[in-house]
C-alpha cells in the first residue's frame, strides 16, 4: 500500500533556506576562506567560560525559572537601562530565551492571529518569513532599496500596510546589509507605526556593534515602548553563538504570554548558558568594546578594498557584514558566489537569499581574521578584474 506523506502541509510549504544550499556547496570544498559566516570569529571571552565552569562545579545543573534566573533578568534590565536608556521590570517584562531566534518565534506566536499580516523588511534575516508563517500569520515583505542604503523608510511602510497588518519586524542594525538607523530615522518610522497601530518586533541583536552613531533602541523612542517587543541576546556582541542565549523585553501582557508558550515548549533556557551570560552582563563590557573596535577596523579595511576593486560598497553602520554591489561584473548574485567559490575558494553569501531586493549584492562577513580577510580581498580582486 502506498504510504502517504506524514509531513504537514504547512511545514512542507516552507522554502528551504538558500543559505543551506550554498553551505552544502561550500562545505565540500577545501581551503575555503569563508566570508559567509554569520557569527563572530572570537571565541567566547574566557571569564564567561570560566564562570560557567564555576557554576557547574557548584552544581547548578537543574532547571531555572521559566522566564530565566531572576539574577540574570535583573542584570539584563540594568544593562538595557545603562546602555540604551530603556527601563524594564525584571520580574514581569523580561524573558530569557534560547537565542534571539526563539525570542522572535515566541513573540510572533504570542501576538499574531491567523490571517493577520506581519511586515518583514528585506533584505533581512532568513528566519523571519518562515517564523511568521509557522505562527499562523501572513508575511508581507517590504523591499528596501540600494539608493536608500537599504534603510527602511516611512513611505515603504505606508505602501505595505493593509487593514490586516498587525506587526512589523525591524532588524537594526541589519543583517545582511549592516544598515543602522539613526534616532531621527527611527522617530520617523515611529510616526507611521503609531498611525497604523502596529506592534514592533525590534530585533537589536547587533545593537552593541554600531560604529558611527550611538545605537538607539526602538522602545527608547517616545510612545514606542508600549508597542514594542525588544529582542536581543548574547550571540553576536558577546561572541556566544553556540551557547544559544537570547532575551526579549516588552509589555507585561506580551512577555507573560511568551513565558506561557516558553514553559510548555522549552521549559527554560540552558542553565549553564545563563550563568555564563550573568558574567557577560556584569563584567563583559571591556571584552565587547575590544571586539567592537576590531570589527570596526576590519569594516574599514573591507569597505575600502571593495571600493578599490570597483565593487560599490556603502559604509555599513553596524553588525559585521558588508553588502557590496556586484552588478558591475554582469553576474547574478548566485552566479557570482558560485563562480567565486569554484575559482578562488572564497565563500560569500548571494544577496538574494535575504530577499529579492538583495539581488545584485553579496553578503561578506568581516568577522574573519585580518590575515584571511587580506587574502580573500586579493582573490576577489583577481576574480573581479577578469570580469569588469
Amino acid at each position: 500500500m502506498k504510504k502517504t506523506s506524514f509531513v504537514s502541509k504547512q511545514a512542507d510549504s516552507l522554502q528551504p533556506s538558500g543559505i543551506r544550499r550554498f553551505f552544502d556547496l561550500a562545505a565540500q570544498m577545501e581551503d575555503v576562506i569563508s566570508l559567509g559566516v554569520g557569527e563572530p570569529d572570537f571565541v567566547t571571552p574566557w571569564s564567561f567560560i570560566e564562570h560557567s565552569f564555576h557554576a557547574l562545579e557548584q552544581g547548578y545543573t537543574s532547571y531555572t525559572e521559566n522566564a530565566g534566573m531572576i539574577d540574570l533578568r535583573e542584570e539584563i534590565s540594568n544593562y538595557l537601562l545603562g546602555s540604551f536608556g530603556v527601563n524594564y521590570d525584571a520580574e514581569k517584562e523580561v524573558v530569557v530565551t534560547v537565542g534571539a531566534s526563539q525570542a522572535i518565534d515566541l513573540a510572533l506566536r504570542a501576538t499574531v492571529n491567523p490571517g493577520e499580516e506581519v511586515l518583514v523588511v528585506e533584505p533581512g534575516f532568513v528566519a523571519y518569513v518562515p517564523t511568521v508563517s509557522l505562527a499562523g500569520g501572513t508575511p508581507v515583505t517590504i523591499q528596501t532599496r540600494p539608493e536608500d542604503d537599504f534603510k527602511l523608510t516611512p513611505q515603504l511602510i505606508e505602501e505595505a500596510v493593509t487593514p490586516r497588518t498587525k506587526a512589523i519586524i525591524l532588524c537594526n542594525p541589519n543583517n545582511p546589509t549592516g544598515a543602522a538607523l539613526s534616532r531621527k530615522e527611527l522617530e520617523d518610522l515611529a510616526n507611521v507605526v503609531e498611525k497604523h497601530d502596529l506592534l514592533v518586533l525590534s530585533d537589536e541583536i547587533y545593537a552593541e556593534l554600531t560604529y558611527e552613531d550611538v545605537h538607539t533602541s526602538f522602545p527608547a523612542i517616545k510612545g514606542m515602548k508600549e508597542r514594542t517587543v525588544l529582542i536581543s541576546g548574547f550571540s553576536k556582541a558577546f561572541a556566544m553563538t553556540g551557547w544559544r542565549l537570547g532575551y526579549a523585553t516588552g509589555p507585561q501582557e506580551i512577555i507573560e504570554t511568551m513565558v506561557k508558550i516558553h514553559q510548555y515548549t522549552m521549559m527554560c533556557a540552558p542553565t549553564i548558558a545563563q550563568h555564563a551570560a550573568l558574567e557577560a552582563m556584569k563584567n563583559g563590557k571591556p571584552s565587547v568594546d575590544h571586539m567592537m573596535k576590531s570589527y570596526k577596523q576590519r569594516r574599514n579595511f573591507i569597505v575600502s578594498s571593495f571600493n578599490e576593486m570597483g565593487l560599490e560598497c556603502p559604509n555599513p553602520g553596524g553588525a559585521f557584514y558588508a553588502f557590496p554591489s556586484i552588478r558591475e561584473t554582469g553576474l547574478s548574485s548566485a552566479e557570482f558566489a558560485e563562480e567565486l567559490l569554484q575559482e578562488e575558494q572564497v565563500a560569500v553569501v548571494p544577496g538574494d537569499v535575504f530577499g529579492e531586493s538583495g539581488e545584485g549584492f553579496v553578503r561578506c562577513s568581516y568577522a574573519t581574521s585580518l590575515k584571511q580577510l587580506d587574502e580573500a580581498m586579493r582573490r576577489m580582486k583577481r576574480f573581479v578584474e577578469k570580469r569588469v
Binding site: S17, I19, F22, F23, A26, A27, V32, S34, G36, V37, G38, E39, D41, F125, V126, A127, N175, K293, Q297, R298, N300, F301, S304, S305, A347, V349, L370, D374
Partner: protein
C-alpha cells in the same frame, strides 16, 4: 590625534610588521598620515623600537636559559635604588630589571646559554656588587605565555561552519 595614536599603537603592538597601507585601510586614514603618526610616536619615544618575538629553539638546537633573580640590596643615600639598578642593568646578560614591593627589592631577569653560565654571572658579577645583600635564583622551566602571546597555541583553527545565516 591622541585617539589615533592609541589605535595605531594597539595595531602594531602585536605586529610591528604590519604594512602602512594596511594600517591606513584599517584606520580609514591615508598612508601618509600613518607614516606621520609613526614618526611622531618615534620622536617622542612612545615607540622605542621594533623587536621580533622569536622562538630560537625552532632554528638552533641550543635553547636559551632564563633566570628570574630576586635581589635584596642596600639602597644608597640620595639615589635610593636607582644607582644599584643601573649597575645591574648595564650588564648585557640582564634582560630586565624591576623595582619590586615585598620581600625583595629588585627583580632581575638574566639570559644565558646554560645554567652554568648564568650561575657564574650571578656569583661573580651580581652577588659581588657591594650593595647586593642576597640573591635568590629561579630558572624558568617552561614558557606558556610570553608578553601576552600564548606559546605553542596551535589551536587557532576556525571551528565555525563555512556558511551560516
Amino acid at each position: 590625534m591622541q585617539e589615533q595614536e592609541v589605535e595605531i599603537l594597539q595595531l602594531i603592538e602585536k605586529n610591528a610588521n604590519m604594512e602602512p597601507s594596511k594600517i591606513a585601510k584599517l584606520m580609514n586614514i591615508t598612508e601618509d598620515e600613518v607614516r606621520q603618526l609613526l614618526r611622531g610616536l618615534e620622536e617622542k619615544k612612545a615607540i622605542l623600537g621594533y623587536s621580533t618575538l622569536i622562538d630560537w629553539a625552532k632554528v638552533i638546537q641550543q635553547e636559551e636559559v632564563t633566570a628570574m633573580v630576586d635581589v635584596k640590596v642596600q639602597p644608597a643615600r640620595g639615589v635610593g635604588f636607582d644607582k644599584v639598578a643601573e649597575r645591574i642593568y648595564r650588564f648585557p646578560e640582564v634582560k630586565a630589571v624591576y623595582l619590586m614591593s615585598g620581600a625583595y627589592d629588585l627583580s632581575v631577569s638574566v639570559e644565558g646559554k646554560t645554567m652554568m653560565e648564568i650561575g657564574r654571572f650571578i656569583s661573580e658579577k651580581l652577588s659581588a656588587l657591594d650593595s647586593v645583600l642576597s640573591t635568590t635564583t629561579h630558572f624558568i622551566l617552561k614558557r606558556y605565555k610570553h608578553d601576552g602571546i600564548i606559546l605553542e597555541d596551535d589551536d587557532d583553527n576556525d571551528k565555525r561552519m563555512v556558511v551560516s545565516p
